[in-house]
Amino acid sequence: GAGVSQTPSNKVTEKGKYVELRCDPISGHTALYWYRQSLGQGPEFLIYFQGTGAADDSGLPNDRFFAVRPEGSVSTLKIQRTERGDSAVYLCASSSDRASPLHFGNGTRLTVT
């Protein structure tokens, strides 16, 4: 069946611009996660949704980062006033419940120039 889909796969933007990254989770998965991964490092937790609500947003680095999941399915990670330090691979994962294994997408590689 279809896995987690993330678009775009690559995004290049200029410093100061606004970007949106999209995640289509596996159908029926109520739990959705956003992670950020830098080269040579493990994924860094950003935010967790249970249904439509952000149950844990403790990983968002600052108020330039925001994520939504209005209908409990597709989620969008939004980054305002991008900085070069935001450059990384942004990973989305979903699971049927919080205790179940995570299913990851292949990520969006964000490059801020």
Binding site: V4, P43, R98, A99, P101
Partner: protein
């Protein structure tokens, strides 16, 4: 949250059994041990999860001794396609995971 420690890198050869050990000295009573595999330009993929003793699936085995302060992922008869980064994580009762840098496994012909 329990922190895990694993080797930065390992090498092995095709056809060999590979064992990657992970240390988690401060693991809590309710924590589960979970392993993920990640190939370049892909997201991590779940391999196996366990609480104690031995768990086996079609891909790997996971050994957790009685004190649960360490665990060993065993990959039987590896092939070149098993070259990847392997992450050991402890999942606590709040289902939170902390990802380290993982173990980069390189399989040689």
């Amino acid at each position: 949250l329990a922190k895990t420690t694993q080797p930065i890198s390992m090498d092995s050869y095709e056809g060999q059994e590979v064992n990657i050990t992970c240390s988690h000295n401060n693991i809590a009573t309710n924590d589960y041990i979970t392993w993920y595999q990640q190939f370049p330009s892909q997201g991590p993929r779940f391999i196996i999860q366990g609480y104690k003793t031995k768990v086996t699936n079609e891909v790997a085995s996971l050994f957790i001794p009685a004190d649960r302060k360490s665990s060993t992922l065993s990959l039987p008869r590896v092939s070149l396609s098993d070259t990847a980064v392997y992450y050991c994580l402890a999942m606590d009762s709040n289902y939170q995971l902390i990802w380290g840098a993982g173990t980069k496994l390189i399989i040689k012909p």
